[in-house]
């Protein structure tokens, strides 16, 4: 019973309130709400800025996910050893996870600053970026700049999950493969990956949901700019909420929620994810 009460208070009621809010219009003059049906949803679905931010969100999610999975797996395999000193390395992996995302955003904002940033300095030295175009103000580079912060902070999360999965794998298939003359890569492809599929799927699902809702890094590093180049759905909704356009913001937030649910459901079915 207490669980049901908690669920209703903190889950069901806010959701229903958001749905109610998304069916209203707030007068800028009287500040009263008026029922307008699905008008906010229509506006949201025909607003080019919604689709732009959806595209930014999707790009952000897929790119960050790719790097976090690949790097996470590579680092996890390197750390999956009993050699001396590696225990300490495994512990250090948790450090980025305890830093608040807003602080990480601030850190990367400074590192990527065109004048004072250490990252900008070395990228300029290497000829990778144009000295006159700051990373976070470039139409082609701003989103990459924000992604770097996310990848730095959350790759260790993937490492820890994959490492736990790797440590739980049975030794016998690897011994058999070694007798059959399998290379390390073959063993990884034919044994490790199939055995880790569910672990990877759960990790990907959790991170996808998080990535799709990204707000902190964008807020701190770019305010969604230049223009709307780094404006994610959550940030756009948040901005509208700040500026008192509650009904439209609620509609956008629900679109994020529905999108996430659809994507997650497809993913769970496809990869037979069990919790």
């Amino acid at each position: 019973m207490p669980v049901v009460v908690l669920l209703v208070v903190f889950g069901v009621y806010p959701l229903l309130y958001s749905v109610w809010l998304s069916l209203q219009e707030r007068s800028r003059v009287t500040r009263q709400f008026e029922f307008v049906g699905l008008k906010q949803w229509e506006i949201a679905l025909t607003d080019p800025r919604t689709w732009d931010s959806f595209q930014v969100t999707l790009t952000y999610t897929l790119v960050c996910l790719f790097f976090q999975v690949v790097l996470g797996m590579a680092i996890a395999m390197l750390l999956d050893t009993e050699r001396r000193g590696y225990g300490l390395l495994r512990s250090l992996m948790t450090l980025p996870l305890v830093v608040p995302p807003a602080v990480t955003g601030l850190m990367f904002l400074l590192m990527e600053d065109a004048q004072f940033g250490v990252l900008s300095y070395y990228l300029k030295q290497l000829g990778i970026i144009d000295p006159l175009n700051p990373i976070l103000a470039g139409n082609d580079t701003a989103l990459i700049g924000v992604m770097l912060a996310d990848i730095w902070q959350w790759t260790p999360f993937m490492v820890l999950i994959f490492l736990a999965g790797l440590r739980a794998l049975p030794k016998e298939p690897y011994e058999a493969a070694a007798i059959d003359g399998a290379s390390a890569f073959q063993a990884f492809r034919m044994i490790t990956l199939p055995l880790l599929t569910r672990v990877i799927a759960v990790a990907v699902l959790i991170r996808s949901i998080d990535l799709f809702r990204v707000y902190d890094y964008v807020y701190v590093m770019t305010s969604g700019g230049p223009g709307t180049q780094t404006e994610t759905l959550s940030f756009y909704a948040g901005r509208l909420f700040t500026l008192a356009n509650f009904p439209y913001a609620a509609a956008l937030a629900l679109i994020v929620l529905i999108s996430l649910n659809v994507i997650a459901s497809i993913f769970i079915k496809l990869f037979k994810v069990r919790f």
């Binding site: 600053d113 065109a114 103000a137 305010s223 969604g224 700019g225 230049p226 223009g227 500026l243």
Partner: protein, 508 residues
Amino acid sequence: MSFREHDRKTFIADTCGDYASRRISKREFIRKLGIAGVGLSGFGAAMLGGGRPFRGLDFGNPAFAQAGPDEAMMQWLSEVGKPFAGTTIRYTSEATPPTIVANQLAKEEFTKATGINVEIEIVPLEQVLQKATLDIQGQIGTYDLYYLDQSWMATFSPDMEDPREYYDSHPDIAMPDFDWADFSQPLLDGISMYDGKLVSIPFDIPIFILMYRRDLYEKHGLKVPTDLNEYMANVKAIQEAESKNGIYGTTGQLRSGHYSLECDWTAWLWGNGGSIYDKAGMFSGGDEQGIKGLEYLMEISKNCPPGALTWTWDGEGQSVAQGLAGQVITWGEYFPSFDGANSKVVGLMEAAPPPKAISLRKPEDCGFNEIPNVGHQGGSGLGLSKYSQNQEAAFLFMQWATSKDVVGRGSVLGGGASPVRLSAFTDPRTLAAAKVGPGTTRHFPAVEKTINTMMGSEPDFPAWAELSNNTIPVELGKYLTGQFKTPQECMDAIKPVADEMAAPFRKA
């Protein structure tokens, strides 16, 4: 680290240790930190997050530490505050100098006298807006007072008591000698009035003034510019001569999507004869003068450090203090930080009123009480919530925080950033601080002249906060980063939204 620096840090560490272990009083602690050149900025910068603008709060005048509060006022507070002892009042604010000062002094002065506790939540400006918006929408009364940016006065007007009327109708808690006439009329009109109602009491007055490097002007034979054409010529001259040395013609707060970019744009728009709205209440940023203003902004951006496109007020102020810019027209509030401990331009900066506009549109030809001029004001006021459960206690605090004594001292403590009263300009403590050093008030004459003769104010209507924090800076950001081919395209993108938002507030 040099021996001198080592000694200074050791001295500070020992002083902090002595204070923490109750070996010295707070007054002695402040005095010693003043001698060491450490001020409120240390606390503010380290603990309060990003505020506007880059702060330089220093106890520049150690003698100030000996100057206590006004005894008569404290006596009165202790008498009228008795019925409210134990009450807690709350407000949320940006980390501007007067708030930091109020936060520092409230406990040891106001609370000590009245028994009223004060809780100040210090967050970035956009979060102040968010919290205030939610609070008034629900009429919750979470906050007893509101820190209101000038651009929000119309938005929050229905939710605020008129402080002047409240003062008159509550003589038992009306501070004697509060002296309403001590607030300059242009400041009251620009910051606190909406539709004939006083919405707040002026609390902070960052305003655009000219700040330039005297050494570079002398080196290159430049004169203080008298209009914006001359200013641009100086910008280009320094850019051309000094960019190889890492010094740019000017700097900016040009981050896309941020209100700071809108602030810069308005100064150049107004300075080129344009306005945001015409007298019919239609967006006029895309007319001939408006386009000139936007081209001027683009030209300015080309002579800034590249990082300016990612900076808000904090980065802009930092860039000057780090010696990256030859001159800038921006918030005078920065100036004390240029003479501060971590500045590379100590004693090199000079302040002057901004250069005259190339042409200027009359206020009567603009809409929504917009006042075009180069001296863009970004002031704020303290508003008394209609939904507060502790109105009287909150009003006592409001009067204390905006009293002659606190404003006068705050102008020195706050690094010369909040002279909202006329008396602050003639206060002996303020005049004594008008020399090179932390917490300088050398720029006060320029600030005063700008307030009285060159102040520009944004339009007043309830949807303005939404427009100036979203559509305008987002589209301007696109223009500055080449997403629009022409300035006209940028203004054309803003116009339909700006007109639609203003529509309900146009007078027939």
